[in-house]
Symmetry: D2
Subunit: 329 residues, 4 copies
């Protein structure tokens, strides 16, 4: 990382898709990061608008006017389907990229995605460290896969099992686009499941990554929309080859020393993790069933550990910085 | 019905446990019922307090001062464990009883419970009609069992299957007791699972009733606490012996003509059912899994179809009235 | 009203601007009205969309395709500035009109507005009864003016006084248009004043009507946006010529026997009035000030008494029906 | 400051009343403070309970077991009426005190209160700096008085004027005591005024301090309860001797360089200040009235600038530290 003379000079960072919820969270993190400085913040529909980021007021550039070459690293929070092309342009301009869209993730099916490391940081740290481009995991997928990885790694998921993931997300997960169904008066006092029948994009993402962990499990993922601004809670049932004596041992072992993972006896809730870059998790054996099963409950902030926070972990690694830099634990 | 000279004289109705959320909903329903009049409203801790019910102000009697003999029918919304004894006293005083506690439900284990019909009205109408005492189903159990009954009745639940029920309830489900964890500032912007590991009381209730439907399925029930006042959404996965050609046919057939059941193509949400005595339900085949499975999503208002409304259906039947009386559909 | 052979034939009613929050509330009221039937429901941007109204599914016609002549009475919930022209067309087609926009209200300044009665029903009942067109009051103005009318009628507002009205409204008051600032994640956990400096449209409406009551008071109106779906609470300070011995007497006298006005000792709150066509009000003398003053707190549901409910009171009067018909108190 | 060998040794700090909302906020601030360390955290009803503060788990001592002498400074967040006696004990044990209760504030009427500086930090910095005991202002009073101080200091409040303060607070302002009226299902979708008739404790506090600023204005304060967890918005009307040419000038001049005061053109809202130790304010001339008036809107977080944050500013001053230490702006 010799080219960045830290702390004399800060590393210039660009953000594409900066006006959405994940984009604004990225801007806030960059603003507090001791080794980064904002090179540009570009937005599509909200170009020209001003935004208050900490004690600074910025103006969003149009995406096509973004000075890609001014940034050493670019976060892309552009919409799915639009992002991949801009990743190419950013690379051509010499910038490294952390892509928060689904375009380059496993299961998305875009050509070339296979070559890009999937930035589930605690699991894929080494691959991320040397990468020029990182595919940042989806918010639901982050919660599900951090919960399942230790079981898969230990061969504890029963062969041929059906893993069921019920998850609920705050509305920032649906983005900052004005939509009638996201108005306060429609969301308050409501709760709904969506993408019924196992059809959500993250189902393929989780399945593809879980397969790469060596599990052949079937997977059913059902997302729900919560009347809260932020947070994801995933309640997961896993048929296992046997119950561990210490039910939390798989996670405690795998994540020992991890600054952004919290394993607790008590059930986690959204308030435990909101505005923090952590996953908090507990597990229990399931009573009253013939097949040994574990119930795992994981909570993250969808905009932090589920988006901007994990992206910052990955950016730090890509830039050769401390992974925790700029991220309050 | 001969003893009740309707409409000249209205039927006197008592409510025990009237100051809680279910109790107050019962009082409101009685107040609007064309053939009922309130004989008494008794409360434990809030005795002596006044409450506004529609355009009437009532004062809660102490439970032990309730004139049980003045009522032709008594709703008991007393806490679990306290209710059964009062049901006995009410019977001794000559009143019929709809008991909203779990004391007399299947799976609760109290002696004598087996002799009392389980008032899942659409399923057990005939048994309820002739009964002196009815055990009103739990709120979660109502949503789950109305969703599962048509599958069980058709032998569609795969033998040896594990049925998973994820459900989320508004906070009125936790009662009107002042508790720090139910304060607005603790519940807003939060979401949590509880009774982890399949340990909720309603799990045994659902299991016992499902067994009585002829299914040997294992059952995993996970409740969650929502930051909404009222409503339950249950998301259910059922391994099936085969997928029906018309996925909604089992429910449409079983519930044809039912005034309080709504089968829809679209996913139901809490807002569709709030303050209404209905269950709304949809189902989908589950994509991407080897075992044929159905996903069923059911929504009810926990205080109406999940408590006071269904209790009123049962009371109407017990009293020989039209089942829908006093219940706006 | 001999032309409507009630109950043999129901009166055909049209709704313009039917897809917004007030429009949908009107559709629900019409659906439950014993003497009305829906002739058409027209919408601008949402034409062709379907909506569930009670147990009926309707499709919105385009506004310009609305068969105005099929309706005996038309509710217009079109946007301010668009409505007046359609009122003319409706009249030309022979329909009577209750206009929920501000176009024909006092203080709005549109030519011809002066000839149209201002439908603050409890105050202007006689003028409404004989009218072909009624200007339905604004939601904030309804709360403020029903609160102030008894004081003005008794000459109790101090000459030259400054009346201050602080009011807060649920977000349905801002309409069903998709706007970023009305998204759940923006409104939840927030509260803001708007139209600062006494610049809200309803300030002129309230001032003009208050002047017609004979008061020369200055008036300061400050609206706020609440993180709730519906409801308005107005907190009003009125310098008075003297404190009444019974502080509630002016309202109790003026509104004696009114089915939709509730005068209470306790402070009203939104929950007391939500989904009900009532105004609930209390008043207190203000302690610790030299000038005698009254504090008046009034609560209404902005979509009911503040819009569709009062519009229905007015429509009933215009059509020669009982004012309370179709309106649960 | 010589006795505290910073940074070698951190200053030991105690908290009385640590288990309430303000107490927990104090614990979090102490945990992040570079020069402070927690000596003890005592609680009344919740003694013995454990709490997670940042990455540390603490156990609440009973108030009477608190080792007062171990702390160089003690924050008291004990209830009004109980705190003053403990302030005495803390002083006797040699600790300095910042008292968050109302016991020692102007207008509270307790003997001895007059000798204690009122810690409205931006206004009373010099008095606080040399004090052993500071009376920390009430949350509503902080918003109101920081808004009014620049007008009073410039003689801009019209003689004999009536200043009206309408304010709304999140429910943490009502404390962490379990009360039915603070349950989620009671507060959500509701809004209410309380302490009608100018009877709130903070009315006398604001009046007494405003008088000390040299204004003889009458004052009407009306608090409201918001369905949000935290935040206060105050909407204030002030009759003025004349309108300043630059309406924001009084505040911009008075608060120039203040790190915790933000003067903006736009109307502030709760979200602008939540979890931040700032007051944000704007002002507008009032249109359409004969008497020149200013409308001032001020927003604070009731637990930060309205309680723990301002208390920390005061503690820093009392201890001779930088006022901003441990307080993110």
């Amino acid at each position: 990382m010799g080219i960045y003379a830290f702390p004399m000079h800060k590393i210039p960072i660009g953000v594409l898709g900066a006006s959405g919820y994940a984009g604004r969270e990225l801007l806030a993190l960059i603003g507090r990061h001791p080794a980064m400085t904002l090179a540009f913040a570009a937005a599509g529909t909200r170009r020209g608008e001003r935004a208050e980021i900490g004690d600074r007021v910025i103006t969003f550039a149009a995406t096509e006017d973004a000075p890609l070459g001014d940034a050493a690293l670019i976060f892309s929070a552009l919409p799915h389907g639009e992002s991949a092309a801009w990743v190419g342009s950013a690379r051509a301009a010499g910038a490294k990229v952390v892509d928060l869209s689904s375009d380059l993730r496993p299961g998305a099916g875009l050509p070339g995605a296979a070559a890009v490391p999937y930035g589930l940081t605690e699991v894929a740290r080494d691959a991320v460290r040397g990468a020029d481009v990182v595919a940042n995991p989806g918010c639901y997928a982050t919660a599900a896969l951090l919960a399942l990885a230790p079981l898969a790694a230990r061969g504890l998921i029963a062969p041929g099992a059906t893993v069921t993931i019920n998850a609920a997300s705050g509305v920032t997960g649906a983005g900052f686009t004005p939509r009638r169904d996201l108005l306060f008066a429609e969301v308050a006092e409501d709760f709904r499941a969506y993408a019924l029948g196992n059809t959500h994009r993250h189902a393929s993402e989780i399945r593809a990554v879980l397969a790469s962990f060596g599990s052949d499990a079937d997977l059913i993922f059902t997302p729900h929309l919560l009347p809260v601004a932020r947070g994801i809670l995933a309640t997961i049932l896993v048929p296992v080859t046997g119950l561990p004596r210490d039910v939390l041992a798989p996670w405690r072992e795998q994540y020992a020393g991890e600054p952004f993972i919290e394993i607790t006896e008590e059930a986690p809730s959204l308030r435990d993790v909101t505005r923090r870059n952590v996953m908090r998790l507990t597990a229990r054996p399931v009573a009253g069933v013939r097949q040994p099963m574990l119930q795992v409950v994981a909570a993250i902030d969808n905009l932090m550990k589920g988006a901007a926070g994990q992206a910052m972990q990955n950016a730090n690694l890509v830039l050769g910085l401390e992974e925790t830099m700029g991220l309050p634990a």
